[in-house]
Amino acid sequence: MKYSLSKIALAVAMTSVLLSGCSSTDDQAGSFTDGSNGQAGANTAGTGDGSLAGSEFGGANGAGGANGYGANGANGGGGPNGTKTIYFMYDSSQVQQEFVPVITAHAQYLQSNPGAHIIVAGNADERGSREYNIALGEQRAKSVARMLTSQGAADSQIEIVSYGEEKPAAMGHDESAWQLNRRAELDYQGQ
């Protein structure tokens, strides 16, 4: 019985910090990013075998199943009704080949609809520090934006934002969730 009262009391006191927040679960209208179809991808997501052992920056290619959560449904073309989530590999902001047609379709849509505006929201999985993940998310959003403009969309049609790990599409804490969270989402404004 080495666990002294004081330690327990500390834990009790510290937990009470959290009580007030705990007691209030309101259900104000949320605003999770429109058009997020991360869950749709979940049906086809390869589980991958990335684990915590593969640190995000250890150079490990933790994400297996790159083809699993693919851009099926991309055939719908660009625009508000097209596939609007682009997934990324572990510690990478490079657009995977299978998502290039998705982005091309959106670029074509933007080019032929000069009045259309999108926000490209970059996201990261939860590994690593929060602000560093904001930076990673921005790199992903930027690489999508670059590909859009190089294929005909105008700079003025595109805005980017990064939510880092703050808006996960999947709530789990393993690779199957992480691969759904490493993503960029295209959000057509005013749609």
Binding site: K2, S4, K7, T25, D26, Y132, S162, E166, M171, H173
Partner: protein, 423 residues
Amino acid sequence: MRLFIQKLMMLFCLAAVSLWARAELSIEITGGVESATPIAVVPFGGSAPLDVSAIVNADLGHSGYFRTLPQQDMLSKPTSEAEVNYRTWQALGQEYLVVGQVVPDGGQYATQFELFTVYKGQKMLAYRMQVPGTDLRRAAHRISDLIFEKITGKKGVFGTRIAYVTSNGGAKRNYRLQVADADGYNSFTIASSNEPLMSPTWSYDGKKIAYVSFESKRAAIYIQTLATGQRQRVSGSPGINGAPAFSPDGSKLALTLSKDGSPNIYVLSLGDMSLRRVTQGNFIDTEPTFTPDGAHIVFTSDRGGKPQLYRVSAQGGAATRITFKGSYNARASFSSDGRKIAMVHSNGRGFQIAVMDVGSGSVDVLTEGALDESPSFAPNGSMLLYAAKQGGRETLATVSADGKVRQKLAFDGGEVRDPSWSP
């Protein structure tokens, strides 16, 4: 006798745990516990709307330095020196004794206490203060601080506060930035949004908090004055507005902006809102924190391939890498004396909290979690508060500076993250 006390304590522990379990919280002690000093805080005499001695008792217990004596174990309840029989307390194995009184006095409360060392039978400290009823809780923390400092030689942290972000799970999210006393009381929400709130950080005088809000669907940095609730948007550039950190003198804010391309470190002068770019280059530079003398900034950068900590003059110039152990070192947070840096560390197996000795460069990994982050030192350096993932939830946890005492706090109502301990 000792066994008896231990049994009593165990009962109390069980009672405490079950009490909180009912509040849907669970407590897991994950590390060993060092021997703590026995102290008896006798219920104070007089009459007051708040049980001051109970707060002192709890504070000292929470510190990890003391083992407090349960009331039912006390054979007498003196409230002043004249009533103290040292032998009684010696027999109970107590090293220190606290007695006191809180007496109504002209609309206020005359609050006094005395601290004794039991074996020598000597008074170590006596203190008297006049406090309004609304300040009794603060007075109790002040008493705890005085006792703690007298015995340990370290400043207490009972009057300090913590800030943290909560969010309810699920698709309809609500993010709240909350502040609470270090003992968990007086928690209140200082900002609430359906878009993310993150990275709260205290000014060195403890009066303001800077944080990042996405409430406008874009990142912006706000500074909020706690006493008035007044807030000011100090940065809303295109792209990232992140990782705010006050300079020690409060005149500047270091931050991360990507308005000129890649994320870089900037310093914003809060007087005239002028902006100085501190780092250059096409890398990720983020998570700045001032050295306690304000002359330098330590930040995270991937300029060497993997995220590591670097130091640069607060005026800008060449940056020097300062971390070399581990494949990932990020989000530096200084101890108040500037001798230690807490950081998120990885050697390839998850992310833990590590502390680097600035002088020697030696690194101690203090935690064992898979996804630990956001460390901040208690102002007296005795422990660190950090965020952990446990049982699929984000929780807060503490670890003693020597890594020996760890506690994780599950929070069933949602996620808790991004903690920051006030100065």
